[in-house]
């Protein structure tokens, strides 16, 4: 399972982290989020160079608001702390790899 991080961890684990980080903004009550979870776990397991974290939008509404998340799941790709790409909705693995490679 990809690690769920808090607002407090976001600075060090995402914004100050070198390289690529994929953040999944999710909610526990969101069906499509649960559908997406194993796909993200596979991406994380197969791509050691990418860190994958989850942000629970109900636990960390401040972080979700900062990135304008109005729908879950929302995936945001950071490189060296900067947003480079994002998408909304549950999607298969090839789409997520494409998002990371774009």
């Amino acid at each position: 399972m990809s690690e769920v991080i808090s607002s407090a961890d976001f600075q060090s684990k995402v914004l100050e982290a070198p390289g690529k980080v994929l953040v999944d903004f999710f909610a526990t009550w969101c069906g499509p989020c649960r559908m997406l979870a194993p796909v993200l776990d596979e991406v994380a397991a197969e791509n050691a160079a990418v860190k994958v974290y989850k942000v629970d939008i109900d636990q960390s509404p401040d972080v979700a608001a900062r990135y304008g998340v109005t729908s879950v799941p929302t995936l945001v790709v950071f490189v060296d702390g900067q947003v480079v790409n994002q998408t909304v909705g549950a999607q298969p693995k090839q789409n997520i790899l494409a998002l990371l490679n774009a």
Binding site: R34, A49, S71, G89, P92, K93, N101
Partner: protein
């Protein structure tokens, strides 16, 4: 950066299995379960988590033997564990094409290819969206595509149904029993629904028909649907319905694009197959929502899956 896009199947010759089930909703999981129990080597392909539409259903109240607290997701996980226990192997890759012209059939994903002696198409269908702003994010917060799934959450409230076909009218009839008032919003001045529904509709005194009307905007309060703004296409008049939920029944979109015309589809895109799931191709079967049928529910999907796997096993026996 080099991302691992190869998966584990690209480097070697495609493996060959007796049965490939495409789609791990209730139909596909049941087909895989029955296939594996019949002794068939079985691969189950799924683009996301197992479960399909069932897994996104919060409360499943009409699956026999399960009480009102069962979530579709939990039921789906149990079905998947059960199939896995009998040797089904799940491949979390989206099938992008199936070549039915070669034997065994060649199944391609973005990460590799596989060969199968029989194929069960169980890719389901997706409710068509209306295309309203914020429609996606309000799904589950007042926007629903399944009245029988979600209607009960709006017991005693006012709701609207958008559409004019059999599904929309059946939704209205269902909702009229549990909701205070039901608006039916249709863009024309008569329904496409079959005659018997018209009569039933006329007998309901808590239904208001909004003819020649299109939904233009969802009214949102506190992150939930609080109404829907309509426009009359003949008079251009606007109107807001104060409703707690908007049920969208403007048709389904079967997930058959990857078949690229290899199987016969009906005019709406559903795979033409008989009750045993048999298509015109002797080794290819269809099960669940993707098949032509009247009632699309978890209970009919699992029945389809059992039938199709049995037909696939029979086909392989007959070939021996």
């Amino acid at each position: 950066m080099d991302l691992n896009t190869s998966g584990d199947a690209l480097a070697r010759e495609p493996e060959t299995v007796d049965l490939a089930v495409i789609g791990a909703g209730p139909a596909g999981m049941t087909a895989a379960l029955y296939g594996a129990r019949s002794g068939l080597t079985t691969l189950l392909f799924e683009r996301l988590s197992p479960g399909g539409q069932c897994a996104t259903t919060e409360h499943l109240e009409n699956y026999p033997g399960y009480s009102d607290s069962t979530s579709g997701f939990d039921l789906a996980m149990k079905m998947h564990a059960q199939a896995s226990a009998f040797g089904v192997r799940t491949v979390t890759e989206e099938v992008t094409s199936v070549d039915l012209s070669v034997t065994p059939n060649l199944i391609a994903t973005p990460f590799g290819s596989y060969r199968a002696r029989t194929v069960i198409v169980a890719t389901g269908a997706t409710p068509a969206q209306l295309g309203l702003p914020h429609e996606d994010e309000l799904r589950g917060r007042g926007v629903s595509y399944c009245a029988t799934c979600d209607g009960n959450f709006f017991r005693g409230r006012d709701v609207a149904v958008i559409g004019g076909g059999d599904t929309a009218v059946a939704d209205v009839i269902y909702l009229a029993r549990i909701c205070r008032k039901v608006y039916l919003v249709h863009r024309r001045d008569k329904l496409r629904a079959t005659a018997i529904y018209h009569e039933r509709l006329r007998q309901l005194d808590n239904v208001e028909l909004c003819w020649d009307s299109v939904a233009e905007e969802l009214v949102v309060e506190d992150g939930r649907v609080a109404g829907v703004r309509l426009r009359n296409v003949k008079t251009d008049e606007g109107r807001v319905l104060d409703v707690a939920a908007v049920f969208i029944a403007v048709g389904m979109r079967p997930n058959t694009a990857f078949l690229a015309g290899d199987l016969e589809l009906d005019q709406s895109g559903y795979v033409i197959a008989d009750e045993m799931g048999r298509t015109a191709m002797p080794n290819v079967f269809a099960a669940g929502d993707v098949r032509v049928k009247e009632l699309r529910q978890v209970v009919t999907a699992v029945a389809d899956g059992a039938n199709a796997a049995t037909a696939a096993a029979d086909y392989l026996d007959w070939r021996k």
